[in-house]
Point group: none
DNA sequence: TTTTATTTGTCAATGCTTTGTCCATGATAT
DNA sequence: ATATCATGGACAAAGCATTGACAAATAAAA
């Protein structure tokens, strides 16, 4: 998983121009990538650091002031200014099921406070948004779903978990989403689709890919989706379905398909069993089987723009 | 660990304009940041002081009066006159309307980023959770509800606003909720009651009163509510209703009443038109007409324990 | 009540520094 | 050969400080 990115990729991922990246390195040694013969190679951590620097700038700091700060200080500074209670960074977490045990313990006791603390601790320790999705968020949700089916877990616990995962995901989204990006993706789910977690996850992956995210939430009537897409000039509308779609939902999808601007791409996730072509003929909707499929689409979109 | 903020960051954090920051320093030496070559650097304490000053202004004081006061005096002054009475009506009115305009602007543009930023800024500036509820959260929700009824506001905008208000409210709750408190209040709403905002507000008021909060969320089946109350040993179960309750909901209330531990108090908010005594005989449920009624109950509970 | 004085947020002009971007040139790999 | 990247120089835009001024709001005086 330890990838290295050439400077163009780093620029795209962070939203910082090539020239600026080089200028920061030359003038302040803010981020010094390793060199492999013909060019710079940025590590995953360095990309993260660049994102942190970018956020610091967005909050009014000057690059000269923050360029030489350690990552720890940067994080500390950014947490302070967002009115959230800062959490102490925990020890490096291992990528295994073990790391989820404390969360689970807290949840069993209905201890909302501890649940939040443990999830936050994992988020800080893991730091990489996509890793957080695949190693923490999805496994937790899968497990709670399974236990609920077996009657070993109450809806209350599922609520508590979802709430705090959502809180972490949204803060990730805010941290990574860019405003002046090439492409903007509007993310929502249609009426009667109340599960928020899947589309929140999709929103986070989108933000992590370096795209702009307009997250409007679950349970939204089709006309409102189209209106929001128009107002924000979105390039993609991504809708999430979790339950098998009923006729009503199909109607909503049809509405969006007819009324959305022609240039807007339409993506649909979370309903692998839905054969949409059969239902609506040659549809504009592109189906995404799972989150990896979404990631592939996102990468293609980034490359295209 | 001592962070310093350049003037742009200070302005961003406090919501005070650059010019005003400089004017206050020049005219009253209200806050004199240290200088590093070509620029002011505000310390953490100075940022806090600026927030205090801003709150003092919001309550109708003039900057000349408060600029030279010590931090201690400022805090004392704000505590005494916070949210209860004694302010000038004019300043009060301005504080409760004008400050919401930026949020509204952002929402009109579907700009989730700016919406969050503006709400966060208000939260930092107001700092007192109860003030935030009465001056920001409730007015915003009332207004969005009104506009939605008039068809001038989409569900998407309501979602965006709710989400970000919820984020601020939960962070307040975390900041204020005590773990080793005398009394614990479990807060939820029964099945088919999906509006989260009212109970979130109630949770924040509870936390602000210094009580322990177990917030499990909306749309929860009655057995789960009782189970959670048992597990957490809650002293109070507070349920919120917003829509007129249907027979199903009455059944849920009845279930909770029967199965909840005898020593647990049962409070019900948000349904003033519901005559519960008529519906269920001599009920254990105590009805709370509005948020002030809730605050009274909370104070009584604190005093008793 | 009207008039005068003071307070206070905002703006403009000027000069200095920081910082993002551009350019010309050269190197390397597909 | 075309594309990507490095390097160092150059420059224009933006940020910040300082001084001075103005207009609206507020308080004080007539």
């Amino acid at each position: 998983m330890s990838e290295f990115y050439p400077i163009a990729a780093a620029a795209h991922l962070t939203g910082i121009s090539l020239d600026t990246l080089r200028a920061w390195e030359r003038r302040y040694q803010a981020v010094v990538p390793k060199r492999a013969g013909r060019g710079r190679l940025y590590s995953e951590e360095q990309i993260q650091r660049l994102v942190l620097l970018r956020r610091a700038l967005a909050q009014g700091h000057s690059i000269g002031q923050v360029a030489t700060l350690a990552d720890r200080q940067l994080r500390h500074m950014l947490e302070k200014s967002s009115s959230f209670a800062g959490e102490k960074p925990a020890a490096r977490a291992r990528a295994s099921e073990d790391i989820l045990i404390p969360v689970w313990r807290a949840l069993e006791r209905f201890d909302t406070e501890a649940t939040h603390r443990e999830i936050n601790r994992l988020a800080v320790a893991i730091a990489l948004p996509t890793d957080f999705v695949y190693q923490v968020a999805l496994p937790l949700m899968r497990r709670v779903g399974k236990l609920w089916h077996e009657g070993k877990c109450s809806v209350a616990q599922e609520h508590i978990l979802t709430r705090h995962l959502a809180s972490v995901l949204t803060s990730f989204i805010r941290a990574y989403s860019r405003t002046n990006t090439a492409a903007r993706v509007l993310i929502a789910s249609p009426s009667n689709e109340r599960h928020e977690f899947p589309i929140l996850t999709a929103a986070m992956l989108t933000a992590a890919a370096g795209l702009g995210v307009i997250y409007v939430g679950a349970d939204l009537p089709a006309p409102d989706i189209v209106l929001a897409a128009r107002k924000t000039n979105a390039d993609v509308i991504l809708l999430g379905l979790s339950t098998p779609p009923d006729p009503n939902t199909l109607g909503e999808l049809h509405y969006v398909e007819r009324k959305a601007p022609r240039r807007t791409a339409l993506w649909l996730g979370g309903a692998p069993e839905l054969n949409l072509k059969k239902a609506t003929g040659n549809s504009r909707w592109r189906l995404l089987q799972d989150f990896s499929a979404l990631e592939r689409q996102l990468r293609a979109l980034v490359a295209r723009s």
